[in-house]
Structure formats: structure tokens, C-alpha cells
Amino acid sequence: MFNTLLPYLLAGISVGGQYALIAVGYTLVYGILRLINFAHGDIFTAAGFFMVYLAASLPVGISVPLVIILTVILGFTVERVAYKPLRTAPRMSIMISAIGVSYLLQNLMWYLTGGLAKQYPGLPGLSETVQIGSASTKIVTIATPFLTIGLVIALVLLINHTKIGMAMRAVSVDFETAQLMGIKINNVISVTFVIGSAMAAIGSMLYFTNYTAVTPTIGAMPGLKAFVAAVFGGIGSIPGAMIGALIIGISENLIKAAGWTAFSDAFTFALLIVVLLFRPTGLFGEKTTDKV
């Protein structure tokens, strides 16, 4: 029994960790801007293509940091061009702008790549196969949860114990008063997008090492699931996003183990509906207290 489940469990923890790295970006941006950044899944996809093209001509040791830098620049630019001008607009406007950016990025990627699936390069140290008990898997499966937990801990420390983290927390509750402290709101928001994009870039390396074909719309599904994970964990909460993502990743794979592969995606979205119905603030969500 355990031996048959083990590979599914490993895959679940691994893909959950990858969702977690995307989910962190959703939850960080939501925490500060109250915006669901619909373009986030496409930024994740773009990171995949960056690697495809860079690794074709550069050694991996250089491609990896370059992919992170390019993804960060992309996320930063999207915020400056599509969201910043709408800072004082109604929230619906910026939401629509985010949907627009998502389609723009997808179409750009269709145009630039010709729409064909591209083979993701093997990353040494991650792509090799290892044997764990009865399961044979890629190293990335084992490495993902450790890397994810490490990054999430680092991020939580950053937010709770550094000056920029303190500014992020202040901006997340009160733009105007934060400005009165001399905090430059736009810089803090940019930092948020930079961190979210860097996490998505790392997530994409782990994800595409497992699922090696990159297509322009491939980010949609993991992006959506990461979003569900962020809502499940309590949007705005970073540990919540990670735990939500791990639960979704593991559940999906256990459903596959039970032989209901066709329903594994449906499960995730059914979960979203149940959470929204019975616990809209998620596992660790901020309580909304309306003070008069």
C-alpha cells in the first residue's frame, strides 16, 4: 500500500511546493494592493521561455540567474506600466488591466515562439533520477519542498524583521499614513512584485524540470491552482499560501493514485468553492474587522 502511494506522495509534495512558490506572488501582491494579479501565471510561463532560449546558447550556471533577473524585470515592468497609473482608480479597473496584461503576455508568447511546445532544458543537479524506496524520481521532486520551505522562511523573516518588511506591513494596512512616515509607496510595491516574480521564476525552473514542455498558455493551470492555494491558505498570508499549496498538491496526486485522474483538477476548484462558502478568509486569513 505505502509503496504504491509513495511516488504519488512525493509528486504531490513536489508539485505543491512549486504551486507554493507561485502562490506567494499572488498573496504578497494581494496583501499590499488588494489586487489579484491575473498576469502572474503568465509571468511564470515567460520565465519558462526565458530558460528555453537562454540555455540554448549559455551555460546553465549563467542562465539560472539571468532567468530570475529577466523575470523580475518583467514583473516590475508590468506593475509600472499596467498597475501604477491606476493607483487611485477603482479596484475593478486595475483588475481588468491585470486580465488584459495576462492575455497580452500570452499572445506575445504565441507570436514570439510560434505556438509550438518548446523542450525545457535539463538542469544539472535537478533533472537526474534517484531511487527512493520503491519510487524512482527526479532529484527536483526531493529538492522542491526543502527549497520552498527555505525560501518561505526567508521571506517571512524579511517581512517580520527588516526595515523594508516593516514598510511592507505598514503599506498593506494604510497607504496614506505610510506616506506620512516618508515611505515611498511605489518603491514598496515594486519590491513586492520583484519578490513575487523571483519566486515565480524559481518555481518555474522546478516545475518545468518535471513537466518539460513549455507552451504559451501552460502557466494558466498552475497559476490558477496557486491562486486557489493562496485563497485556501488565507490570501495575504505567506505561510498560509505554502500550506494551502502543499495540501492541494498532495490531494491532487492522491486522487490520481485512487484512479480518478480526470477529476484531480476539478477537485482543486471544488475546494475553492467550498472554502469560499464556509471559510472565505481561508486557513490563516486576516480577520476582517469593520471598526467604526
Binding site: 494604510d174 496614506e176 506616506q179 512616515m181
Partner: protein, 240 residues
């Protein structure tokens, strides 16, 4: 030369003129108050000085420098701090962090620590609650924290927007005692109040605002003894 000088300031929000050309001055080391009814434009005045709102016409001078076009960050650096209406402490930050964030732009680490101790001396209640989240404090304590946070920017001028609003009468007394203490330490205070009686007793000089204009000014005593003020703001009828 006065510390703060506002000349012919006009501010409009979406077609409505909130300020219709006001001029006033705040002298160094004084408590100056703007009184007036709701909607007179008092808050708009403070928000414009602190750079949150941009004026359409008029200039603002601080220590003789024209700061009209400065952004909020630069205005904070120049030495103007604000205690916003409703206190607006960062509820999700601890008391200590709220004080530290007041010093966000400062680089002088050692002096920051001294200033925190100074605020704690002034408000021992805050020291006891140093590690508590600011959201758990009482209204009066939050007001102390908002003042302490403003002091942490090392301002030359502190602007207070309705500090007594929504606080119990005993706490209001505390707040005015704090304002007096600030003055005793050499601080200049620009105070907005609906509680005209308390404000006029506390201030050195006062301006009366009505629907975007300054209609009267004088020392606290002068205005307290003015019949028009007594009728309009102090609830005393002159007709017996």
C-alpha cells in the same frame, strides 16, 4: 520669520473648491489652532501642507523655503510631521515598530534609540506595551502612540488633525496636556479641533475657518471673548 506660511491656498476636489484661498502663519514655538465646523476645510489644509493633496493655487513656505511642490517624503524630511485624524496607528505592527517606522527616513541609529527612550519617558504606558500590537491599545494610548510616532520623525512642526475626536473626556484632558508638553519642549504645533473651547484655551493663536475661508483670527483669549465665536462654536447664547 514665521515657521510656516501659507498664502492664498486654493484646493479643489473634483470641481468642488474645498479651500478658496486661505492665508495664515504659524510662529515658531507656538500652538496655533484652526477651528471650524465639519467641512470647513481644516483637514484639507493639513493634508495639503503634508503633500497628500496638491493645491491648485497658492504657496506654502516652511522656514522661508517654498515647499509647495515637494512630495510627501521630502516634506517629512523637511521637518513637518502629521498626527492624522483617527490616529491611524499601524494596527498590525507592535508599539515599538510603530515608533521605529516614524524614524523610517532617519539614518542616525543611536539617536533613534535615544528618541524611543524619550518617547517612552513621556508616555510610560507605551513602554509597558512595547511588544503589543498597536491595534490592541485603547483609543487614548493609540493617540499617544500616534504623537510618539510623529515625534520620531524629528519634526520642527507637528500637525494634529482632531486629536480629541472620539475620546473620553478624561482622555481628552490628557491629550491637551500632551500638546502642552510638546510646546514646552520647544515644538511648534498646528492643531485642528472641533472642540473649539479646549483648543482656544490651549493655543497661542487661532484661525476660524468657514466653508473654505478664514473668517477670523486672533489670540485664544481674544476669540474666547468674541461674541460671534461664543455663539457659533462655544454654544453660549448672547441673547438672555
Amino acid at each position: 520669520m514665521s515657521l510656516l506660511k501659507v498664502t492664498d491656498l486654493v484646493v479643489s476636489y473634483g470641481g468642488i473648491e474645498a479651500l478658496k484661498g486661505i492665508s495664515f502663519e504659524v510662529e515658531q514655538g507656538q500652538i496655533v489652532t484652526l477651528i471650524g465646523a465639519n467641512g470647513a476645510g481644516k483637514s484639507t489644509t493639513l493634508r495639503t501642507i503634508s503633500g497628500l493633496v496638491k493645491g491648485r493655487e497658492g504657496r506654502i513656505y516652511f522656514e522661508g523655503r517654498d515647499i509647495t511642490d515637494y512630495g510627501t517624503q521630502k516634506i517629512v524630511e523637511t521637518g513637518i510631521a502629521m498626527v492624522p485624524e483617527g490616529r491611524r496607528v499601524f494596527a498590525n505592527l507592535t508599539v515599538l515598530e510603530n515608533l521605529r517606522i516614524g524614524a523610517y527616513l532617519r539614518k542616525d541609529r543611536d539617536v533613534i534609540e535615544e528618541d524611543i527612550q524619550y518617547v517612552y519617558e513621556l508616555f510610560p504606558r507605551l513602554k509597558e506595551r512595547s511588544w503589543q500590537l498597536a491595534g490592541t491599545l485603547s483609543g487614548g494610548e493609540q493617540q499617544m502612540l500616534a504623537v510618539g510616532r510623529a515625534m520620531m520623525t524629528r519634526p520642527k512642526l507637528i500637525m494634529m488633525d482632531e486629536p480629541s475626536l472620539g475620546l473620553a473626556p478624561l482622555v481628552v484632558k490628557d491629550i491637551f496636556r500632551i500638546i502642552q508638553t510638546l510646546k514646552d519642549t520647544g515644538m511648534t504645533v498646528l492643531l485642528i479641533e472641533q472642540n473649539a473651547n479646549a483648543a482656544l484655551h490651549a493655543c497661542d493663536y487661532a484661525y476660524v475657518m468657514e466653508t473654505g475661508r478664514i473668517t477670523m483670527s486672533g489670540t485664544g483669549e481674544e476669540l474666547l471673548s468674541s461674541e460671534a465665536i461664543q455663539e457659533a462654536y462655544l454654544g453660549k447664547s448672547s441673547k438672555k
